[in-house]
């Protein structure tokens, strides 16, 4: 093919007007070695499209597909990446729960000495009543100790009388007017020696 023909085909190509056959011609031309310098700039695109057409699925694709079609199961081909987060959190929660169960079974959370237990209901009633009596009598003795606090309020009433000071202070404030006058000098007219 002449350079002129190639140039014409290229112009058609960039306008989206070439047929598949013509595009095939161009691809083959740019695969060759006899490319004029001024057309070299177009080579990468044709090289790229030829190279990209060689990309293929990985080698285990067919095997996985056959297994899936055979069993009718829908399993992802690369399940690990997809479900990694899910399986990691599942594993973590299983470990957590198993750990807690083991700890409970070992009795870590139980008191080291069991409390006394009473099976006879009547005895239990008496025991509970005794316990409550002890609590309430202690409470009452506590309250009695608080009695002297009442004298506080008597003291407080007396402190209230201090308010009378205030009116006294107001009367005293008249003394301030004295400041307006010259201070009285005791030494006036007396000779110092």
């Amino acid at each position: 093919m002449t350079t002129k023909e190639i140039e014409a085909l290229l112009a058609k190509y960039y306008d989206g007007e070439t047929s598949l056959n013509e595009e095939h011609l161009l691809k083959n031309f740019f695969k060759g070695d006899s490319i004029p310098d001024h057309l070299m700039a177009h080579q990468p695109l044709f090289k790229f499209t030829s190279t990209e057409a060689k990309t293929e699925v990985s080698s285990r694709f067919d095997q996985v597909l056959q297994e899936r079609i055979g069993t009718g199961k829908v399993v992802p081909m690369n399940p690990f990446r997809k479900h990694m987060a899910l399986s990691l959190s599942l594993a973590a929660s299983i470990v957590l729960i198993a750990g807690l169960i083991t700890l409970f079974r070992l009795g870590v959370f139980m008191p080291s000495q069991p409390y006394g237990t009473i099976t006879d209901p009547e005895l239990a009633y008496v025991e509970v009543r005794n316990a409550l009596y002890t609590v309430s009598s202690n409470l009452n003795s506590g309250l009695e100790k608080m009695k002297p606090l009442e004298s506080f309020s008597v003291g407080y009433d007396q402190v209230q009388n201090l308010q009378k000071f205030k009116s006294g202070l107001e009367t005293m404030s008249k003394i301030n007017q004295l400041d307006k006058y010259q201070p009285f000098k005791f030494n006036q007219g007396r000779k110092t020696n």
Binding site: Y13, Y14, D15, G16, E17, L20, E23, H24, A41, H42, Q43, P44, L45, K47, F48, T49, T51, E52, A53, K54, T55, E56, V57, S58, F61, D62, V64, L65, R68, I69, G72, V74, P76, M77, N78, R81, K82
Partner: protein, 171 residues
């Protein structure tokens, strides 16, 4: 469609579907998962597949819809560069020369295009579909496909030209 027909007609589409899904998702493993799901869906409906005019178009459209669902359900964005790096590392030696700086440049230009244009380039220049099929898969009219294809090709050409002149100036 029986098992044998399914194996000989539908499963060979796997690489096309995979590349299409990968263009959408920019993630190799996710793209493979999607293609698996597409095949399972088609397998379940295998009795009815003969009623369709083109099983291939059906498979591509199913891939597209599953990809859109996948993207919608994403809680965090994927890093396409990370995926590309892993892809290069796993590439056999004899293919590594195909991924030169030039091609990386085109790939970068491609990624900067609107998604629809990327997919049209994918379907036309990489997979070699005719305009009718592309229009059906992308649910557009043929004229819009042509216009977008032209825009995408020109945009890639211009981006390569600017990055080349930049390299030239730098040297």
């Amino acid at each position: 469609m029986n098992h044998q027909e399914f194996t000989s007609k539908v499963i060979p589409l796997k690489n096309k579907l995979f590349r299409f899904a990968k263009r959408y998702l920019e993630h190799t493993e996710e793209a493979e998962d999607i293609v698996q799901e597409v095949f399972i869906k088609l397998w379940v409906r295998r009795e009815k597949l003969d009623e369709y005019r083109s099983v291939e178009a059906l498979a591509m459209i199913t891939t597209k819809n599953l990809c859109l669902d996948k993207i919608k359900g994403r809680r965090y964005p994927v890093d396409p560069m990370d995926d590309h790096r892993r892809f290069l590392e796993n590439l056999p030696e004899e293919q590594k020369k195909d991924y030169s700086d030039e091609i990386r440049m085109v790939r970068k230009a491609m990624k900067s295009l609107p998604q629809q244009q990327q997919l049209i380039i994918q379907l036309r220049d990489i997979e070699g579909y005719d305009f009718e099929a592309i229009a059906e898969i992308m649910e557009m009219n043929e004229n819009a496909v042509r216009v977008n294809l032209s825009r995408a090709r020109k945009r890639i050409r211009d981006l390569i030209a600017t990055s080349k002149s930049y390299d030239y100036q730098r040297n």
